[in-house]
Each structure stands twice: as C-alpha cells, then as structure tokens.
Amino acid sequence: MGAGVVGAAVARELSRFHLSCTLLEAGPDIGAGTSKANTALLHTGFDATPGTLEARLVRRGHELLSAYAPQAGIPLARIGALLVAWTPEQRAAFPRIVERAHANGDAAIREVGVEELYRREPHLGPGAHGALDVPDEGIVCPFTTPLAYATEAVLNGCELRRGVRVIGVEHRGDGGFELHTTLGPIITRFFVNAAGLYSDELDRLAGHDGFTITPRRGELIVYDKLARPLLNHIVLAVPTGTTKGVLVSPTVYGNILVGPTAQDVPWKDDTSSTAEGLAYLRAESKRILPQLAQHEVTAVYVGLRAATEHTDYQLTIHAAEGYTCIGGIRSTGLSASLAIAEHVRTELGAAGLELRAKESPATVRMPNIGELSPRPYEQAGRIVCFCERVTLAEIEAALGSTIPPVDLDGLRRRTRVLMGRCQGFYCGARVAALLREGTA
C-alpha cells in the first residue's frame, strides 16, 4: 500500500519473483506525495547515525540506485557535495562529522581548505571557513525513479491500482488479511504498509501502534536554468540539532534548487508555502550564492517529510502476521528505496513468503528527462514546451506509456512539460488540450 518511491521499489523487487502482487496508491499517481517534493539528492549516508537501519540502508541504497539508474534511464550524477562551514564553530564540528562518516563506511570524505573551496565553487558567498568534500553524493531525478520502479513492476505482472484507499484491515483466521478498500475487499497473504505520511494511521488500522508521523514541512525554491553555471557541486550546511540546514544544489534538469526549510506541522495534506519560508530561502540563496539574487525563480514547491518521534526508520516485519510496516522514512527514501525493498524482500522470505525468481524478468528503459545525457529535441522534433524543450513525441509517448498520467502534474513529472520558467504562458493551453485528447 503506497506507490511512493518506497512502495514502488518494494513492488518492483517482489515482481521479479513468481508471486501475485498488487500495488495500491491512494493518490492519483505514482510518486505524487512526499516522493515528488524533496531535495532530489542521492545521499551516501555519510552523516547518518552509525549503527541505525537508516545508515545501513541509505548506504546500500546509494550503491544499488547508482547501478540501477543507468540501465533504467534514470537521470543520476554523482557530482559530489561540499559541506561548508560558515563559522569557526561549524568548522570545529568537522572532525566529528568525519569520524561519523568513517563509521558509516565512507572513506572518501576529506577536508578541503578555503582556497580549494573557492577554486571549486568560485561563486560561493564570502566568509566560508572550509569544507568537507563528500565526492559520492549525487543528484537524481525524483520523478523518473518511482515511475521506473512501478513500470517495471507492472511489466512483471504486478497489478497497479491508483486512487484507492484502505479503510480497514482485517486479520483472517487462516493467516493473511482482508483489506477493506474504497474499491472493495482485497485478500492477501502478505501486506506491506508503505503509506508514507499515512503509514502511522495504516499501522493502527493493522492493529499496531508503533509510532506517530509528525509531518515536517520543507519549502524549496528552484532557480532559472540560466543560473546553473554558478554552481558545480551540492553545497551542504553543517547540520544543527534539528535539521540538515539549507542546501544549494544543481538539479538533473539543469536548475539550481535551494532548501529545504524545516517546520513541524499538524497536517498531512497541506503543502502550502509561506511568506516567511520563501523570504528565508531567498536570504539563504543570497548568502550562499549571492548571484542567485539576480536570477528568476522558476518554481516553488513544498514537501512534507514523514518524520516520527524516533530517530531511525520505523521498519518492522511482523513475520507471524505477514505484515510489514515501512514508516518514518523521512527524507532519505529516494536514496534508500532499493535497499529498503531488498531488505523487505529478504525478511519476507525469512517470514515464509516463497521467493522463486523469474528467469528473465522484464526491465525498463525510461525516457530521459534529464540534462545529463542527450534529449530527444537534440535530434529533431516538434518542440511543444519551449522552456524545457519537450517534444510532441515525448508527450504522446508519456500519454501512451505503461502507467499513463491522469493529470497535468503527472504529465509534468513524466516529461518536464510546464516545469520551466514560463509556467505555461506559451504552451499551457496546448499541453492541457493534448492531455484532454490523450486521456479521453
């Protein structure tokens, strides 16, 4: 239950075995909740708490996704991060961070001096006291990743149902569950809760009460592509008690992203931005990369991270029941997704799920929507979305794909259409018409 990046990864993993699998999603689309609104980073897990499940799975997930992305057509680049100290106190925290990275198995981390830092990031704002170089940190497409997983799952026989909510979970006498859903009852032997922000509520429906999600709002600003030459690496902040701080990062689409803010909020469905948050991000942009102030903002978006009262993932396999809860994945789900899926599959095998691998499971090759490799318009094409250079053929392919979009946002995540600086001034009406025709 839940077709965010984690649920889709689990479905993909299980679909590679001879078993019957259904992927349910309450929202209108794959990856349309928390998975679509994050910092789009591929973390190494260098700064995770050593010994936690999160530390282990992020590290393994980094390895798995780095290998999977090129085969599946997911834009991904390990451009490296520079964690910058802006005060002597932050600089003094470096040894502790390095020690932690080493404990997490990251041997590549090293300190760089002020001179090297400004040589590698000449547009960085003044006042840096030094940096840590984390060369394996990367950027990845948060839209293509869950879509690739879900598409591969569907191609391997997994049934996908979107727009369906679970309203009750009944334990059956013979083991297994009867799920009461808005589409009627579904009977299953094993049940995986990957409901993200709602994983605590679903956990209680399943008769457990392990944790409570407190959504943490993160606002982000995306700058115009013309700002892209200002930055070479991901620029991280030294973490403080509650957050990892505001980072500045290139995106795989060729923009620069600044964020996130971090604010606990009492709701799960309101992804509104705030005047204070945007003002703060503008000020941080100007401080970290002063020339950003002269550039246009292309987009503002807000994600709700599934934080809990615990410091680690709330990933529990109730083997006897056949119930798996994957909760509290917070902000590292994209990086850890494949490792979470691998972990769940292994544990379910141990719990009695018969795992007979398919001889030649289907693989996917997603359309490239990143700037890291050539895009269709660089061959020829009728360009519909000028800002993002999306061709008519790409839009038609998305509309006819294995998991077609049902709304403009879905088409946007599949093609980048309307994601650019004009926000539909030129092509919005035409794209809406193409979607109407394509989904009629």
Binding site: L226, S272, R282, F386, Y426, A429
Partner: protein
C-alpha cells in the same frame, strides 16, 4: 550562408524580415518556434492592433495574419516549429525542426524573441499550488482553444492595459471578475478605457493592495489581499487568479550568446540602431523591454532592418558604446546605449518609472555635463514616456556612462 536570420516570428521579427526584403536583402529567414508565426497578437482577440505601423486598426489575430501574409508576399522564408535552442562554439544557431537538427549561420542575426509575463512562482506568492492560477497569455490561449472550466470567479493581479485585456477575456469567457488588485495608488491604463470597463462590468479596482496568499486545493478557493495603507488583510473567494503584466524579456538566447543585459530592462543592451554588444547580432521588439504594444515592437523591428542593411553594406564597423543608466525611481530607458548620432526607433527613447510622477524635470547627464533637460507632464508605471533624441550629438563617445534622472527637486 544565409544573409540574415531573424529569431522569432512575432510582430518585431516579421516586420524586420519584411523590411530587409524591401531593402533588397536576397535571403531572409525567420525562425519561429510556434506552430504558426505571428507572435502574441495571435491570441489577442480584441481590436487595437496596427495603428502605428500598418495605419489601420485590426484584431490581434488579423494583425498577425496580415504580417505573415506580407512576409510571404515579399519572399521571406518563415520556418515554423523551428526552435533555436542555443549557439554552437563558433556562433552559429543550434536549431531543432520537426525533421532535423541543424547549425545555421548568417551574416547578421536579429534576436526578436519577445517577452513573457512573470508567472506566480517568479513573484514568490506564497500559499497552495492549485489549478486556476494563470497569466494573461495562458488565459487567452485557454479561451482560444475552447478549454473547458476556465473558471467562474476571478481575481486579476495588476491594473495595466494588459490587465484590462485579461478582464475582457474573462468576461467574454463567462467568468465573473471579483476585482483587480494593484499595489499602486491607481490603475495604469488609459483613463477612458479603464473607467468604461469598470462601469460596464462593475469590477472593483483595489488600489494599494497586494495579493499575499493563494489558498485552495485542488482548485483555487480564495486569495488573501493586504491593504498596504492599513496593513489589514482579507480573504476574497475566487477559483481563478490571473497574474498580468510584470513582463520579462525572453532573453535566454541573449544570455547564452554572452550579450550584456541592461540591468533595468533585463533585455540585451542595444544602441540606438539596435546593435547588441556582439558583432553582427541585433535585437528588436519586446526582447528589448517588456512590453510595448505590438505596433511599437514592429516599428522597432523595421528600425533594426535598416541598421542590419547598413552593417551588411559596410561590414567592418561595430562601434564602441556608452551605456545609459537610469536612476530610481526611473526604471529603465530603451534603447540603453549610444554609439553615434543615429536616431533610435521612432526618433525617441522610451522611459519607464516605478512610480506615478507628474510635472517633474528630467535630466540627461554625462558625468558633469548636462546633455538635455526637460519636463514630462506625467509618467505612469508600466507605460512608456517619450524622451527626445536631440541630445545624441552631444554625447562624448569616449566618455563615461550617461545618467537619466529626475532633476533636483524644486518647489
């Protein structure tokens, strides 16, 4: 190699290409990325196009069609669905067409890529991200394509000419307009037109009012407005918000070409005959500044054509220039550099201000030399006032930047 490539087939680009052919340039190509050339006027169903350039008053679509027909008639080669995406290392254009990808070069290139309205994210308006948040450009195309569900009740942000155009479009599409909000103390359109529209459709104009939040999901449900005089906020129910004006030149190709931009207009810096800072590269129309009426943009294109021809005939002269800088509250001047005594388009400079000004003196100085001083009866934000070009010959071509500022305040 082509003689001249014009990038952009709106009024400025087409007028430029037509004039180039009329002046005897054999090989003139217009590259337009849209399905049909003609530019923004294609979607403006109302009358009011063509008075200054064609000496007649047409609707936007008729005006656009007329320019396309004229261009074909004089032998301009128009490539539709042909998008210039960048530059090669040696300065050729990288071009995508439905059938191919090519590098095109020309003896001269004219950029006429126009401008767009700043959409909601660029204005950093907080709140939810619902359906129903539009720009005028998007609204007009939605209506043109007969999209269902434009909305039922709209708030318009801005009170310039184009804002009233958005109002008319909404009303004709059956959308009730709850009101127009402007941060300024009054509207910026023509007095008669605005009063007429206001009376006829009973649309309130909320002056000194800023839109501070959009709420609703999945569709707009209300907006929050703040009165800048009192600081008080109130919610106005609506399902549609139209952000109008606040134009920005579509300057991507100018930036990637390495052209110097004018800090005020955000378009490429051009001298009075519309030469950019790069040899052989000219710019015209609303790429230079957002935004003038279509006919003014067309006349700018025509002006650029004369300049291109002159350059093609004496292929070696790309003079040094002196930039013109505006001091607040003046926003920008266009053209914004001087490299000789040749007159600007329509023999005047366009001047903009961020505030309503009346009866104030303007000074044009180069260092401590006064080049010109005079009085402008009235300056309205979002509309151009004209400054004469009579002072050009006094400019020292080797001197410092030229300042345009308000004269010292006198009582």
């Amino acid at each position: 190699m082509t003689d001249v490539i014009v990038v952009g087939g709106g009024p400025a680009g087409l007028a430029c290409a037509i004039e180039l052919r009329r002046r005897g340039i054999p090989d003139v190509v217009v590259l337009d990325r849209e399905e049909r050339a003609g530019g923004i006027p294609r979607h403006c169903a109302h009358k009011g196009f063509g008075a200054r350039d064609l000496r007649r008053v047409l609707s936007g679509p008729s005006y656009a069609q007329r320019y396309v027909a004229l261009a074909h008639h004089v032998g301009v080669d128009i490539g539709a669905e042909t998008m210039v995406t960048g530059w090669t290392a040696n300065g050729s254009l990288e071009v995508t067409t439905p059938e191919s990808r090519a590098s095109l070069s020309a003896s001269a290139i004219v950029l006429a890529t126009g401008c767009r309205e700043r959409p909601r994210p660029a204005r950093l308006v907080p709140g939810s991200r619902p359906e129903g948040v539009l720009t005028t450009g998007l609204l007009q195309q939605l209506v043109e394509l007969r999209s269902p569900r434009i909305g039922t009740r709209a708030v318009i942000v801005g009170a310039e000419h184009v804002s009233f155009s958005a109002l008319l479009t909404l009303v004709h599409a059956g959308v009730k307009v709850a009101g127009m909000a402007t941060e300024l103390p009054r509207h910026q359109s023509l007095p008669g037109a605005a009063l007429g529209v206001g009376l006829r459709y009973r649309v309130p104009l909320w002056t000194r009012t800023v839109l501070t939040e959009i709420r609703g999901r999945p569709r707009v449900e209300e907006v929050e407005l703040r009165d800048l005089r009192t600081g008080q906020t109130r919610a106005v129910a609506c399902d549609t918000v139209v952000f109008t004006a606040d134009w920005i030149p579509d300057h991507e190709l100018s930036v990637t070409a390495g052209l110097e931009l004018d800090p005020g207009t955000r378009g490429p810096q051009v001298d009075t005959v519309l030469r950019t800072t790069q040899v052989g590269l000219f710019a015209a129309g609303n790429l230079l500044q957002g935004a003038e009426p279509a006919d003014v943009a067309a006349l700018s294109g025509r002006h650029a054509a004369a300049s291109v021809v002159s350059w093609l005939n004496h292929n070696n002269h790309w003079p040094e220039r002196v930039p013109i800088v505006c001091r607040p509250p003046l926003l920008w001047i266009s053209p914004n550099a001087v490299s000789g005594g040749e007159p600007p388009p329509r023999d005047r400079f366009a001047l903009r201000s961020s505030a309503f000004l009346a009866g104030l003196g303007i000074e044009i100085r180069q260092h401590d030399r006064l080049l010109w001083t005079g009085r402008l009866r009235r300056i309205v934000p979002g509309r151009s006032s004209s400054l004469p070009a009579s002072w050009l010959e006094k400019v020292d071509p080797h001197g410092s930047a030229i300042d345009v500022q308000l004269a010292a305040q006198r009582h």
